[in-house]
Symmetry: none
Subunit: 201 residues, 4 copies
DNA sequence: CATGAATGAGAATTCATTCAT
DNA sequence: TATGAATGAATTCTCATTCAT
């Protein structure tokens, strides 16, 4: 742990600024002032404002992912339980890191710069793929009624949970209490039971 | 019809520019160049870029509203039919004025400037109120089974139609054919029948 | 004649600065400070530093050309005399406008920016063409021994005079006295006589 | 031969960069990146960008000089033959080291920084003096018709050969074949014979 | 109503140089 | 020797707004 983590200061200042305002609206001046760092240092670590923005985005997902998969119940090899845990833990992580959550939301809203849009969706897809690879790894398929339709089932479950999560997020936007998470959990538990009933023997 | 409608030129150039790019992204220079008008004239008619933006927003809704209520079937005093017509005609108007539709969508996405956000939602609410006042004016309530619950019924119908419209819009974003409108109409017709069945005698 | 010719001030400051130092070495800051003008005004009149540079180059040649052809002895329809006058008057004009001469020399030395190099040589060629078109207009060819070789003769004379001028310029670089011009004139007179002797009847 | 010749890497990278672009145009960053060396090391070996530039210039001439005088025919004590050999071997050395040749040309074009201009011409003169001192050392003057005019003769020959070399260089700029060198040699041989005829008994 | 000259703060980025390790 | 973090002034260019005419 370095005494002077100026790069970290820049990153933190960047999250703070870009969580509150749009890419365009935030100036590199603001960031270096907030970070109490020279103008040059920002461009020493990140070769442009755009690169900084994208690096922050990647860092944000890294943090969320780390929290999501830290102590993840991989022991449970049931696919529905795993997906439920993924959605729930990711939501919890985002609620824990409010600045990151706000930042990520803003990045997704950003449409002005096409290069950013493209790079952002590449980064996002990479994280998604990596997550699902881990979640679907070493799944126990023995309980399934009909193993010929595993792919379809996986997709339907993934989409359903995603939709449930999105609706919940929209409904609880800005709210941060634990109660909201319980509501989400109940919803997921309900559908998990539903899926097991239909797809398991 | 004036020979030189320079204010109109500014407005048209504004719609064009702000439909393609965000508030921040568009410069007043771009607009006056597109409008082939002097810099000063823009600030003569609109005292700031923000005021221009908001004036355009108001103008956009005025145009949509004019189209919506031109030849509106006020003769039909049935509340469900009127609401159905409102939604349908507004959708048609937005499909007709594609630039305005794109512009309005962008304005609603804009979050950077809080003053703009506030003023925009005031304008929007005013239009909504005025619309519903006209639609609910001189309604024939004689068919209702129970007139004690009119308020609740009105709200439910309004919300339902709004939701149907939003879902339809998301599903047909960018598409512009008449077929899409027919789909919306069928949906609305279906629910109109439904409401009549339950709420009328 | 405007009281406040700020654009002119920028141009004069530009000539002064770019005559003393290379394109890169001169900052737009220096120029606006020298011209006592706001930063924005430079970019109001010239959309970039490069455009300013090229506009100055064109302006410089315009001035030299004006001086060269002001009261030009077009009455004399002898091609050799005209060419002699062209070279001599151009040299005199450059000696009169020392800053312009220094500026032009620097522009020709500039090799760093390929866009500038290309645009500069286009401008230069245009001026050359225009000059020669005027000089060769309405020439009296009756004295020529053999009119079949007019093109070749014109070229040889032009090249010879150009070479004489270049050698003279290199030899008298920086010197500014009238004596130097006399030397050039004598040289040109000498060759003019030579050409007439061989090419006229 | 050291394993890690980092100073040499910097020098090579410097030649490469400054051969392609002007002093101003090349950044120390470019050089250290090309040399795969840290920023600090450049300033450890060369205390400033200017000092690096001048050190490179001196190094370049050292290399050219080494090649020129390696196996130089000092056995031949005839002054004309020695001068001929000097010009010819220097030209050959520059054709062999194309990057150095390009670099030296650029340095000579540089006018922006007066300190550099001054220091560069000092270095150049030193090399010239040293060269001529070696060439004129232990010359056999016994063949001369009249030894009172040795100084003048030396100067005339030196200037003549220099002029021949310059003209040849301008005519063959960029060309790199051995044929060009032969042309230069023939020219020099011719004038050497001429000088001997007039100045020897 | 109409022009466009004029402003100046502020934007992103570059760069030679220093210095602690 | 060797690293690369750190600096901050300087660079070109943008832009909303004002104002005299």
């Amino acid at each position: 742990m370095k005494r002077n983590d100026l790069k970290g200061d820049i990153i933190r200042a960047g999250f703070k600024a870009f969580a509150k305002a749009d890419y365009q609206q935030v100036s590199t001046n603001q960031i270096v002032e907030e970070a109490r760092v020279s103008k040059g240092l920002l461009f020493h670590y990140f070769k442009s404002k755009t690169q900084l923005y994208l690096a922050l985005y990647e860092t944000a997902w890294n943090i969320i992912q780390r929290d999501t998969f830290d102590n993840f119940p991989f022991a449970n090899r049931d696919v529905f339980e795993r997906l439920k845990a993924l959605v729930l833990r990711k939501s919890a992580a985002l609620q824990k890191h409010k600045t990151l959550a706000a930042f990520i939301k803003r990045v997704h809203l950003h449409t002005a710069n096409p290069d950013i849009v493209k790079a952002r969706s590449n980064i996002y897809q990479q994280f998604q793929q990596r997550n699902y690879k881990r979640v679907f790894d070493d799944i126990d398929t023995s309980s399934f009624r009909d193993r010929d339709y595993l792919d379809e089932i996986y997709k339907i479950v993934t989409w359903t949970f995603t939709k449930i999560h999105n609706d919940w997020e929209r409904a609880h936007v800005g709210k941060e209490n634990a109660e909201a998470l319980t509501i989400l959990e109940n919803e997921l538990v309900h559908y998990t039971a539903f899926f097991k009933r239909f797809f398991y023997q």
